[in-house]
């Protein structure tokens, strides 16, 4: 019965997060507009880079533009901000309440992130037309790739949420993490492949990025969408993402156990 009860509680968390998203809808729309402005610039930049060529390194310009549009749009939706929430809760000492709840803290957070994601989905009504105007949207390379992309998106979400959670857990050791978080964002922006897909990275950079989990958030799913899967095949691309999703689960379990013991409840 505990599982069922926990599930109810988690769904409630999710609903709360969904409602919170609705309150911030204006901010979200603004972020989508900014994403549109970025997509348009990237489109112009890469069109200029291609010049008269219709294909570079086996990647047609068309696929490249669709890649940029979807990757950046997707990244806007897959950018959870739990790390800030965690830091806030610890700073204000409210983490004590969170830890006292019968549902585990990481579970609360993931449920919240899921609710947030659901709250964001209606925003696609705004985001897709903006992306369509700013960049280039085409249907996926084939029906099969379309379905694979959807599966890949779910895995991408799992990796994105868990990585963000992991960064958030650092707050249990130190609250001074502005610089740290900034570094993470920078590396993240780059290594997801949303600005420069891995195809066009210099060899050394690519081989580093291939060892990191960030590519599972943008490059892997979107390269499936445009029919140029990262690892050469759809299944191996999905397997790569699944691998990272599982690794993150294990790492978080390990880190969480230590973080919990390290908890400092301020004030209260």
């Amino acid at each position: 019965m505990t599982l069922a009860r926990n599930l109810d509680a988690l769904v409630a968390y999710g609903r709360m997060a969904t409602r919170r998203m609705y309150i911030y809808r204006f901010n979200v729309i603004m972020m989508i507009v900014l994403t549109g402005i970025t997509i348009y610039l990237l489109t112009l930049l890469w069109k200029a880079a291609y010049g008269d060529r219709t294909e570079v390194d086996g990647i047609p310009l068309q696929s490249m533009l669709v890649y940029l549009t979807i990757a950046n749009l997707q990244l806007r939706f897959l950018s959870p901000e739990m790390d800030q929430d965690i830091q806030e809760r610890i700073r204000e000492g409210q983490i004590g309440f969170d830890l006292n709840r019968p549902v585990g803290y990481p579970g609360q957070l993931v449920a919240g992130a899921a609710g947030q994601m659901i709250g964001l989905l209606p925003m696609l009504v705004v985001a897709v037309p903006i992306a369509f105007v700013a960049g280039e949207l085409r249907p996926p390379a084939s029906v099969e790739e379309g379905f694979a992309y959807l599966a890949s998106l779910v895995l991408a979400w799992l990796v994105a949420v868990q990585m963000n959670l992991l960064i958030g857990l650092v707050s249990f050791w130190t609250l001074e993490m502005t610089g740290f978080r900034m570094m993470y964002r920078l590396i993240g922006n780059f290594a997801t492949g949303a600005l420069i897909p891995l195809w066009f990275m210099p060899d050394l950079l690519r081989s580093i990025v291939q060892l990191l989990p960030f590519q599972a958030i943008a490059f892997v799913p979107v390269s499936i969408y445009v029919g140029e899967p990262a690892t050469g095949g759809i299944w191996s691309a999905l397997a790569l993402q699944a691998f990272w999703a599982v690794v993150m689960v294990l790492v978080i379990q390990l880190v969480w156990r230590r973080a919990f013991r390290h908890t400092v409840i301020q004030g209260g």
């Binding site: 112009l44 610089g179 570094m183 066009f200």
Partner: protein
């Protein structure tokens, strides 16, 4: 009425105070500067990778684009050092902090500017100067005292252009109170589109980013002049040459707009 000299000395004292207050937390300030610089440089690295891979973009070489990027970033650093508090205008008006500015014998706008210093502007400045330094060796320019002087004027003018636009948008807060999202969006357009040769833009956008929003005057026009790339311009070359003057002109207009709009200030009371 205070003389100009007195005013400048008060201004410097206020600026010094805000600088000192930021460096009270030295480690924090230093890390803000460094992360600001890294943030800007990674933006550049993305461009660098693309240009290095494709040799040129819009007819501009890597060195030329680096130069343009460096000019824009330096201008932005100066803009941010002097005018970062414009982004706080909403709060200053909503909380009624502006009341205090009206009581002191100093133009309210200057008091807003010196309210606080955002030290990460030094990251932009250092990053921009580094790029300019690297690029100036690589570009095909016969450096003379005149070109260096023009460059200094241009970078300052660029900061004034960005400042003017943000002052005008900020003055809307007197009427509408919440204009933050508009200002952030416009700032982002300057940050993204100002760094690239306009030759990669469609014609309509080139004109839009020249006459509707003066992005071209921040760095692209003066960089074209220094690099002698006037051939690709979508306007008469003389307009590009006077970019620093345009900055001064726009700034003076912006000050007038601010003063006019400030009549609509409604104190929230204390």
């Amino acid at each position: 009425m205070a003389t100009v000299a007195q005013r400048i000395s008060i201004l410097l004292a206020l600026a010094g105070a805000s600088l000192r207050s930021e460096f009270q937390y030295r480690a924090n300030a230093v890390s803000a500067v460094i992360s600001g610089m890294i943030y800007q440089l990674t933006g550049f690295i993305a461009v660098w990778i693309i240009v290095a891979r494709f040799n040129e973009i819009g007819g501009w070489s890597l060195a030329e684009i680096t130069f343009l990027y460096g000019m824009r970033l330096t201008s932005h650093g100066i803009f941010y050092a002097c005018f970062s508090q414009l982004f706080e205008a909403d709060r200053v008006m909503v909380t009624g902090e502006y009341d205090r500015y009206l009581l002191r014998p100093m133009p309210p706008l200057l008091q807003l500017f010196t309210r606080k210093l955002r030290v990460n502007c030094f990251g932009d400045l250092i990053g921009g100067l580094l790029l300019l330094g690297f690029a100036s060796a690589g570009v095909d320019v016969a450096w003379s005292p005149q070109t260096v002087f023009y460059l200094v004027l241009a970078v300052t003018g660029g900061a004034l252009v960005e400042g003017a636009v943000q002052i005008m948008l900020g003055s809307l807060s007197f009427r509408f109170l919440q204009t933050m999202s508009l200002r952030v969006t416009v700032n982002e357009v300057f940050n993204l589109y100002g760094n690239y040769p306009f030759t990669i833009f469609p014609k309509a956008l080139e004109y839009l980013l020249t006459f509707a929003l003066p992005v071209a005057f921040v760095a692209f026009f003066p960089a074209s002049v220094v690099l002698e790339r006037e051939d690709g311009l979508h306007v008469a070359p003389w307009l590009a040459v006077i970019a620093p003057l345009v900055g001064v002109g726009l700034f003076l207009v912006a000050l007038r707009v601010w003063r006019r709009q400030s009549r609509h200030y409604q104190s929230s009371g204390h």
